[in-house]
Amino acid sequence: MTPSRLSRVVLPLLGLTVVLLVWTALSQTVAPDIPSPVRTWQESRRYVLEPFFKDGELNQGILRLAYYSLIRVGKGFALALLIGTPIGFMLGLSRTFHETFDPIIQFLRPISPLAWLPLGLVIFRQSEPAAVFTIALCAMWPTVINTAAGVRSISQDYLNVGRVLKLSRFTMLRKIIVPATLPYVFTGYRLSLGLAWLVIVASEMLTGTPGVGGFLWQEYNSLVYSHIILSVITIGAIGFLLDRLMGVVEARVKAG
């Protein structure tokens, strides 16, 4: 076996084994309420092996639940990009805009999704749009910040080309500013998607909407702890896949 295969396959498996052993040890000693890996699997197998079954609003196969969550994240993420990208460009392009709104943005940025959600519920009176609103509001900041930073870091050389050619503002934007900023924009998108996925769990838990987060909270209330672990693992796996997916898109954009 080559060293690279050893480090790519064997070592991660070793790491997984260690975690499963620690988990087992904890469930049999200090945390007896936590089911062991084996029990977790036994109690969750139907959700995994029939991932799309539907018995009720919050009793569904894990991939069906994940699908609801993904749709919601997709809406919130799309809204975040739609709002965040132009704001980022304006922040980067206009000094006045930057000086007017940057303090507000720095102030809004660290606000937790848990704080926005009730406001969303007050505004929309329904959990679904409130969740989307919360996701968009929390997820758009990396897009805003990265886009603005990207615009500001455009090489003066490229801008000088535009100045010498006396390009119109629109051509300058289309041919120079936007393409030069694109790699930064997509880094922002990847971070925004990660945040959107973080927020979805919290917003579903609070609103009780069907999805992985809603399921997790319901199973906590029903004392089915193995399903909490199932949800946690699902959330992690999907978050990982989303990040990888956006990583591929980002790399393609950067390669031009």
Binding site: D157, Y158, V161, R163, V164, L165, K166, K175, A180
Partner: protein, 260 residues
């Protein structure tokens, strides 16, 4: 009255460590169709001077006048070939040139602009590499694209800021020969900035030596006086070549000794 005139320009930059006095009253004049070179040590302010002529920078004092009009902002009539090529990496070689053609010939039909772009690519010997991105091209090919883009601007004067300094010696020689050929066909007005005395003599009609900064000025111009078309191979043997070379080198050395 000269076609392009730089009158006693001064330029000082504010830096975190205090003001840097770069140009202390540089002047030059050239006629329509003339090829002038400015030769000086690295860091003496050559790029600053060419940026002032391009209008990318404004002088603190003095002025630049082209064809009777003072220069106040950048524009394609002072087409520039940058030292670092400054090609847009997301556009193909063809599209980099087309950007300039489309901007300058906006009023002409698209087919004609396309034909002109193709002609320029052929002129610089890049017709077959037109579809490649800058990063797929060698340094020499990138600079050819930059030259084609400079010519695409239909400049009254073509400004070249150490265009070949980043290239290896062999590629540099090839591109100098190419530039000599293109200039022979078009007789554009050119201001070339370089730190290579031989390059300046090979290409220029007249050479201004630049004193090393701070507060750089241009010394009295030296006429090259070698017949055209010039051939690199025979040139260095001619007494006139040696004479010009000594004049420039002696001037620059004297300045450096005096300054240091």
């Amino acid at each position: 009255m000269p076609y392009l005139e730089v009158r006693d320009v001064h330029k000082t930059f504010a830096t975190p460590r205090g003001a840097t006095h770069v140009l202390g009253g540089a002047s030059l004049a050239l006629d329509d169709g003339e090829f002038v070179a400015i030769v000086g040590y690295s860091g003496s302010g050559k790029t600053t001077l060419i940026s002032l002529i391009a209008g990318l920078l404004a002088p603190d004092a003095g002025e630049v006048v082209l064809d009777g009009r003072p220069v106040r902002e950048p524009g394609p009539e002072r087409g520039i070939v940058f030292q670092q090529y400054s090609l847009l990496p997301w556009l193909t070689a063809h599209d980099n040139v087309a950007l300039a053609v489309d901007a300058v010939d906006a009023a002409r039909p698209a087919a004609e602009r396309r034909r002109r772009t193709d002609e320029l690519m052929t002129l610089v010997g890049l017709a077959s590499a037109a579809g490649k991105r800058p990063r797929e091209l060698s340094g020499g090919m990138r600079q050819r694209v930059a030259v084609a883009r400079g010519l695409a601007m239909r400049p009254k004067v073509l400004l070249m800021d150490e265009p070949f300094s980043a290239l290896d010696a062999l590629t540099r020689a090839t591109l100098q020969d190419e530039l000599l050929r293109i200039w022979g066909e078009r007789r554009s007005t050119v201001v070339l900035v370089t730190n290579d005395v031989d390059e300046a003599i090979l290409l220029a009609d007249r050479i201004y030596p630049m004193t090393p900064g701070p507060g750089a000025v241009l010394g009295p111009p030296i006429e090259v006086g070698l017949p055209r078309p010039r051939q690199r191979r025979h040139m260095s043997l001619e007494p006139a070549y040696q004479k010009v070379r000594h004049q420039i080198v002696d001037f620059l050395r004297a300045c450096r000794r005096g300054g240091a």
